[in-house]
Amino acid sequence: MKPVLLVDDSPTMLSSMSSILKKAGFACETAGTGEAALSKVSGGLSPCLVITDYHMPGMHGVDLIGKLRKLAPTRFVPMLVLTTESQPEKRGAAKAAGATGWLVKPVDPAALLQVVKQLVPGA
């Protein structure tokens, strides 16, 4: 199965999400910045799902989603924004950029897995 690409500037979040998803049987790739995530996809990574933070140093999550939508491996891949933000206008911007969904931290692991299994066929 293709890996889930996790993008967050917090090592804690990356570890937490990786642990939860790996426990559910998913492979995970992590990136600490939007730029690093783009580099991985450009380098051949083909994820089945992208989960990105909103606020990150450098490129923020919505920008990342917009750029990933222009790359072939991630053009049709579901992308979730996982953030502490909950403002409707920011959700709207994410939706306009091509995000599939919006999750507010802290997210319940069971709810996260339910969403992921809903978005990734055969998961």
Binding site: S10, T84, S86, P88, G101, P106, V107
Partner: protein, 467 residues
């Protein structure tokens, strides 16, 4: 507790400001206006920064930082209030000075004189060779003002330390969260390994295979027992047949002996007839008479021997028949009992095996249930670590706030030193707006609004939304 104390102190300072803003303000000078601006700025800085930082709920995490911030801020307020009081006195021309500050009493006439003559204190100091009054170029100064400026200048160091301490707290919490996650993952892996081992070693397929093998072996044992029983029966029948054959053979021998006995009797009769005929023949038959006697003796001996052999053969046959019958019966009973015992043992063994398998299944089921019970809290704990990221973002916001407060206080200090009424920095109200726009979570905005006495808009947006 910290936030309450700081808020009360800030409020009382604000009241003090309101008190002096009445009659004294009517007689204020441009210097007094400047002081008012500075004092207002200090109050707003203190009230906004301390109250927001304290009410963000991070006093649980940062009691040391907030405790340290409170007295320093209060000291700054006190300095500003004292400095303002001095300005009022100066503005009202009272000239009354505390006995504890003779240097100021000595300096003020000079300052007033300098103001009247149109020269600054720097010029007056240079002219008189005095250095007991600290003077800033381009403005008139008092020791209280200079002291306030010195204190304000210390804020940059304080806020810098505060920002670094906040960063340190973030780093420590991040490291601790990583350790917790690592340990949780380790526990989860061990539990998974254990469960996998138990499932592999006790899987239903393996159990079925073992049971099948054991049942096959037991079936083999049963077939062996059946063959053994058949053989026992055949042996018994053969033994019976041999007994019958022996009886028939013995009967033939006895019949033969009966024939011999009959011949002996007939021979005896024949010899008697010969003796009678020999007696009738007289002397000529004397020889035949002797022969007849001898023949009768022989016939009698043959008959005696025949009877003896008959008796012995009968006794032998009786003995052999009884022994063989008893032996066969005992052998059959022993074989039957042995087969019954083995069958009973096999049955008990099967029952024990089934009990063992059922017990193993119960254990496996229990382990799986317990594993589920452990897995859920483990995963929840892995998710709970997200709190560190939330706290980190709040701490980063606090650090930015501390930096902003430091920059603003530096601007206030610069304004005091330059005798300007406008600061180089933005107004604090603008900074508060920027601060509000910089929040990254609804809770921060709600806290900010509540701290500023604004109506709080609760965040009702869904926490999970698929577009």
């Amino acid at each position: 507790m910290t936030s309450v104390a700081v808020s009360v102190r800030a409020a009382s300072t604000s009241d003090a400001y309101d008190d002096v803003d009445g009659p004294a303000a009517a007689a204020s000078t441009s210097s007094h206006d400047m002081r008012r601006t500075v004092f207002k700025a200090l109050i707003r800085v203190g009230v906004a920064a301390v109250a927001v930082m304290a009410d963000l709920g991070l006093h649980r995490v940062l009691p040391g930082a907030l405790t340290a911030l409170a007295p320093v801020t209060a000291f700054a307020f006190g300095m500003a209030a004292h400095w303002l009081t001095g300005a009022q006195r100066q503005g009202a021309g009272s000239g009354a000075e505390p006995a504890s500050r003779p240097d100021r009493a000595a300096a003020e006439p000079e300052m007033v004189g300098a103001e009247r003559s149109g020269v600054t204190l720097v010029e007056a100091n240079e002219r008189d060779g005095r250095n007991d009054v600290i003077a800033f170029p381009g403005r008139r100064s008092t020791p209280e003002m200079d002291r306030a400026v010195q204190e304000l200048d210390q804020y940059s160091a304080f806020t810098d330390i505060l920002a670094k301490q906040l960063k340190s707290v973030t780093d420590v919490s991040e490291e601790a969260a990583g350790t917790i996650l690592s340990n949780l993952t380790g526990v989860d892996e061990k539990v998974s390994d254990l469960l996998t081992f138990i499932q592999t070693s006790g899987s239903s397929d393996q159990v079925t295979q073992v049971i099948s093998e054991i049942e096959s072996q037991m079936q083999g044992c049963r077939e062996l027992l059946d063959r053994f029983a058949i053989r026992q029966r055949d042996d018994a029948q053969e033994s019976q047949r041999q007994r019958s054959q022996l009886g028939a053979d013995t009967r033939s021998v006895l019949d033969a002996l009966d024939g011999v006995n009959r011949i002996a009797r007939q021979t005896t009769m024949l010899s008697l007839n010969v003796s009678i005929e020999a007696a009738r023949a007289g002397e000529a038959g004397r020889g035949f008479s002797v022969i007849a006697v001898e023949i009768r003796k022989l016939a009698s001996e043959v008959q005696a021997i025949s009877n003896d052999v008959h008796s012995r053969v009968e006794a032998l046959m009786q003995s052999v028949t009884v022994d063989l019958s008893l032996q066969t019966q005992n052998r059959e009973e022993a074989g039957h009992n042995a087969i019954a015992n083995i069958a009973q043992t096999l049955s008990a063994l099967t029952d024990n095996l089934m009990t063992l398998v059922a017990h193993q299944r119960d254990i496996l089921q229990k382990v799986e249930i317990e594993n589920e019970a452990i897995a859920k809290p483990l995963m929840d704990m892995m998710g709970s670590i997200q709190f560190q990221d939330i706290i980190r973002q709040q701490l980063e916001q606090l650090s930015r706030m501390a930096t902003q407060v430091g920059e603003h206080l530096a601007a206030v200090s610069a304004m005091l030193g330059s005798a300007k009424t406008d600061m180089d920095d933005e107004m604090l109200s603008d900074k508060l707006d920027q601060m509000f726009n910089g929040y990254v979570m609804a809770g921060q905005r709600e806290t900010h609004m509540a701290a500023r006495g604004q109506a709080v808009t609760q965040d009702t947006a869904a926490r999970i939304e698929l577009f």
